[in-house]
């Protein structure tokens, strides 16, 4: 049965919007949680009141953001079932496990401790409270780990095989699923991006206080923490972003070729296209500025291994579709008679390609009846949106490099105790939105670049959707857009309001710098 293409398109739009929206809040939670833990540790070690006030003030902003993250996260956990029911059935045996483990190992801890962070200040000792904050921070990152293990399996589905009796993928090795190399590089890349975002958030708002001459000691200390934490995070996000790129080229050659707008295979080592205007129709990149060797070195870690271009990858796909049809045919035989030895042998030989036969299901009910033109069409459908990936990737990388420069400079100024320069402060303030730009584009590169697959090589996105009516998805999509927009407005209003109020406006910090409390007091 072919799923209504409208339902697929609308469900994809809804998933992308809700995931991108959720991803506005999650990385900030990741980063701020660690910043809070660091600030509170300094408080516990030095018992200087300013560090406690810092933890509490940034904690208020953390709380607003955390509520949004939790609220929008519920949608994610349930949307696989509501809109991607066939996906859920087809890979739930593997994909469900890391989500459930995330709940048990990480989110439970996070959800239970966050209340204590806010309400426990007077109920437990400072040391215990600090431990609560640390565990909260660890739990948020642990949460990211399991989500990225699940996500990495969509990019590189290891440790699983198709079972014709249950019509789904089933686990063959959990070890491979958990120690998926893509998961490791993605985890470090993503949490580092979150840490960078948290650092930028504190850096920019503190810079604003300094520009206004408010909360000076408070802001300087916050900036110092942000600069050092941010520099480490920004270095990690770029260096391990490269690692993530390496993993991409191993497992998703097509995504890599699309990011590079590499239409034809180049002789190794390939050059890196710094700038260009990819033309999808002509299958070439105009006005390209290329740096020789760089791509080949980055993508293959060698000088003689070629990186395949889009045309060659489409030819590969055609072969795999033909093999996949054989597997599909054998699967149908086995469904009727599970002991058919010949069909078993065919399926065993070609089951890695069965997903490619399923690409045809977008165009016809029975892939076995595909003509060479159909196969060409299906093979062409494996090319993701080249210009979007090309540009998203480049802007993301540019942001990443800028973070290293900015945090490096901030770190240098902080170590010289010369944070006041107005030009520097203004640049720090105006860089505030960039981590969000980079994070959202990173999501687009990773997930939009995975198309047309829900599970790379295994399950096309179009097949994964639920059998809904487009009317139903319009209701939920419209509801989410309205509802999320309203929440975004309120969240933005509260964030700005409390950042503007600042520690002095909230009564956490004296308005005049000469009255800084130095001894411990209760808040």
């Amino acid at each position: 049965m072919i799923v209504d293409p409208d339902v697929v398109g609308l469900s994809r739009l809804q998933f992308a919007l809700t995931a991108l929206y959720h991803f506005l809040f999650v990385p900030l939670t990741l980063g701020l949680a660690f910043m809070l833990a660091i600030m509170e540790s300094v408080y516990v070690m030095t018992r200087r009141e300013v560090w406690k006030r810092m933890t509490q003030f940034w904690g208020v902003l953390f709380g607003i953001n955390f509520a949004m993250g939790v609220a929008t996260g519920v949608t994610m956990e349930f949307q696989f079932g509501t809109n991607w029911a066939y996906y859920s059935h087809y890979v739930g045996d593997i994909f469900g496990a890391p989500l459930a483990i995330e709940g048990m190992m990480a989110f439970f801890l996070e959800g239970t401790l966050v209340g204590l962070f806010f309400f426990g200040w007077d109920r437990i000792s400072p040391l215990k409270h600090m431990l609560v904050t640390w565990f909260l921070a660890l739990a948020t990152s642990l949460s990211a780990l399991w989500i990225l293990i699940a996500n990495a399996w969509m990019q590189n589905p290891v440790g699983a095989a198709f079972n014709p009796q249950t019509m789904r993928m089933e686990v063959t090795s959990f070890k491979e699923v958990i120690f998926n190399p893509v998961a490791q590089s993605k985890f470090v890349h993503t949490v580092s991006a979150g840490y960078t975002m948290g650092a930028m958030f504190v850096l920019s708002i503190s810079a604003w206080y300094l520009l206004r001459g408010r909360n000076i000691d408070f802001a300087k200390r916050s900036m110092t923490v942000a600069a050092s934490f941010g520099l480490a995070a920004a270095l990690s996000v770029v260096v391990l972003g490269d690692e993530s790129g390496y993993a991409v080229s191993e497992n998703q050659k097509m995504k890599m070729a699309a990011i590079e707008a590499m239409w034809e295979t180049e002789p190794a080592p390939a050059s890196f296209t710094l700038f260009g205007l990819p033309d999808v129709k002509a299958k070439e990149t105009h006005a390209a500025v290329r740096i020789p060797w760089v791509m080949g070195l980055m993508g293959t870690r060698s000088i003689d291994e070629p990186i395949l271009g889009i045309a060659d990858l489409v030819d590969d796909a055609k072969v795999r579709i033909a093999d996949g049809i054989k597997a599909y045919d054998a699967m149908l035989v086995l469904r009727e008679n599970k002991n058919d030895a010949q069909a078993k042998a065919i399926l065993a030989a070609h089951d890695k390609d069965m997903g490619y036969a399923l690409l045809l299901k977008r165009f016809m009910d029975d892939p076995r009846k595909a003509s060479p033109e159909d196969i060409q069409k299906a093979a062409d459908s494996t090319i993701p949106n080249v210009p979007v990936l090309f540009w998203s990737f480049r802007i993301m990388v540019a942001c990443g490099l800028w973070f290293i420069v900015l945090f490096g400079y901030a770190f240098w100024r902080a170590s010289k105790r010369r944070l006041e320069g107005r030009r520097f402060l203004r640049v720090a303030l105006w860089s505030l939105p960039l981590p969000w730009v980079a994070a959202e584009l990173g999501w687009i590169v990773a997930e939009y670049g995975r198309q047309p697959w829900a599970i790379e090589g295994v399950l096309p996105t179009a097949l994964g959707a639920s059998s809904l009516t487009s009317g139903q998805v319009w209701i939920s999509l419209g509801g989410f857009v309205l509802f999320y927009t309203a929440l975004a407005v309120i969240d933005g209003y509260l964030m700005v309001k409390f950042a503007r109020k600042g520690p002095d406006g909230l009564g956490m910090w004296p308005k005049k710098p000469d009255a800084i409390p130095t001894t411990a007091q209760t808040a």
């Binding site: 208020v60 949004m68 009796q165 959990f174």
Partner: protein
């Protein structure tokens, strides 16, 4: 030691435990939220009520999130069929779950009566919606849902959203509502300032009485008015998970399990004992009233689960497409791995949850909130 059949029964039980955990732990949050404007007569009183649940509701909600994740991992067909089939109902439920975290947090951020009232009613709505929708969904299970599978195991839904509002399902929604209102009020009676607790005791007693009457009514209706489902022919308990391999007979009674396993009656008895205990102990010192209310919640869910067993999600339009414990689970390897993880982490979860509740013990008094409200 853990054959496929055993693992499936264990995972049926674990999902039951998660569901009961959700109903007991998050149920009182929903109950208190729904009663916010009834029990709390002015701003200070409402802040007291909120502060009885604010430090812990977030952890409690994870019972629900984890429930979703565990159903996905252990019963992927159930996750896929129920969530996509009940699409609009799920969306309504999601809205209730989205509005709650921001409701708690944002309410305290602006000191303006209208602002607070709007968030109050958002919280009230989220509580009522969740209690009702969960109950209505449960009721619909007994009536059978309109879905079937094709050979690829792709599910098609044969009904509409409004068909879910059948009389028995609505009754079951009211059972859930009254039960959790009683439960939430029992929490408030234990945790809130005495002025509010006195009111909460009354509300809890009345709601619990209503619950007992409705629960009995639902039981009678189920016994005499609603045909049960049974697997026809030999029951294969360790076959590959494919619901299309069996036949289902409709027309027996949902109480078949109770007739063959008399110990099943322990579940409704537990519910009644809990409700009775609530009437006796609520308003006295200690947590006995709330504990009894929790027993009633657990007994109610167990009663329904035992009646349904081995069915997870019966189909009215194509009975043999019904999902049962024997044909809708994950593979043996996944069930085993997840069991291992649960055995390690569930006790740890209970440990730190217990610690947090201990730290936050004691009544939230009006004096306390007049002086300071947590810096949420």
């Amino acid at each position: 030691m853990f054959d496929y059949e055993t693992l499936r029964i264990i995972w049926w039980a674990l999902i039951g435990i998660l569901l009961i955990g959700f109903a007991i732990m998050d149920g009182f949050d929903f109950g208190v939220a729904a009663l916010l404007r009834v029990l709390g007569k002015d701003e200070h009183e409402r802040v007291v009520l909120l502060e009885t649940i604010e430090p812990t509701w977030e952890g409690n909600q994870v019972w629900f999130i984890l429930g979703g994740g565990a159903v996905f991992a252990a019963w992927p067909l159930l996750y896929a069929a129920s969530f996509s089939g009940l699409y609009v109902a799920m969306f309504v439920l999601l809205v209730a779950f989205i509005i709650r975290p921001v409701g708690f947090n944002f309410r305290e951020k602006v000191h303006h009566a209208t602002w607070k009232a709007v968030w109050d009613y958002c919280l009230v709505a989220s509580g009522v919606i969740v209690m009702l929708v969960c109950g209505v969904a449960f009721g619909n299970l007994f009536l059978g849902l309109p879905f079937h599978f094709d050979g690829d195991l792709r599910m098609t839904w044969d009904g509409t959203f409004f068909q879910l509002f059948r009389p028995f399902a609505l009754l079951s929604g009211l059972v859930s509502l009254s039960m959790l209102l009683a439960h939430g009020a029992a929490w408030a009676a234990m945790k809130a300032d005495h002025t509010i607790a006195v009111r909460a005791v009354k509300v809890s007693r009345i709601a619990s009485l209503v619950y007992v009457v409705l629960f009995v009514l639902a039981g009678i209706w189920l016994a005499y008015g609603i045909p049960g489902y049974a697997i026809a022919g030999p029951v294969v308990t360790d076959a590959a998970s494919n619901p299309l391999g069996k036949d289902v007979a409709v027309g027996g009674t949902w109480f078949a399990g109770y007739l063959t396993h008399p110990m099943f009656w322990g579940a409704p008895v537990l519910a009644f004992v809990g409700a009775l205990g609530l009437q006796l102990f609520i308003g006295r010192r200690g947590f006995l009233g709330f504990f009894c209310s929790s027993l009633a919640v657990a007994g109610t869910i167990l009663s329904a689960g035992f009646a349904l067993f081995p069915f997870l999600m019966p189909s009215a339009s194509s009975p043999s497409s019904s999902l049962t414990v024997w044909d809708a689970s994950s593979s043996q390897g996944t069930l085993l791995l997840m069991l291992g993880v649960t055995v390690v982490f569930l006790p740890i979860i209970l440990l730190y949850t217990g610690w947090v509740f201990r730290v936050m013990r004691g009544r939230v008094t009006l004096d306390h909130v007049r002086k300071s409200h947590g810096m949420y």
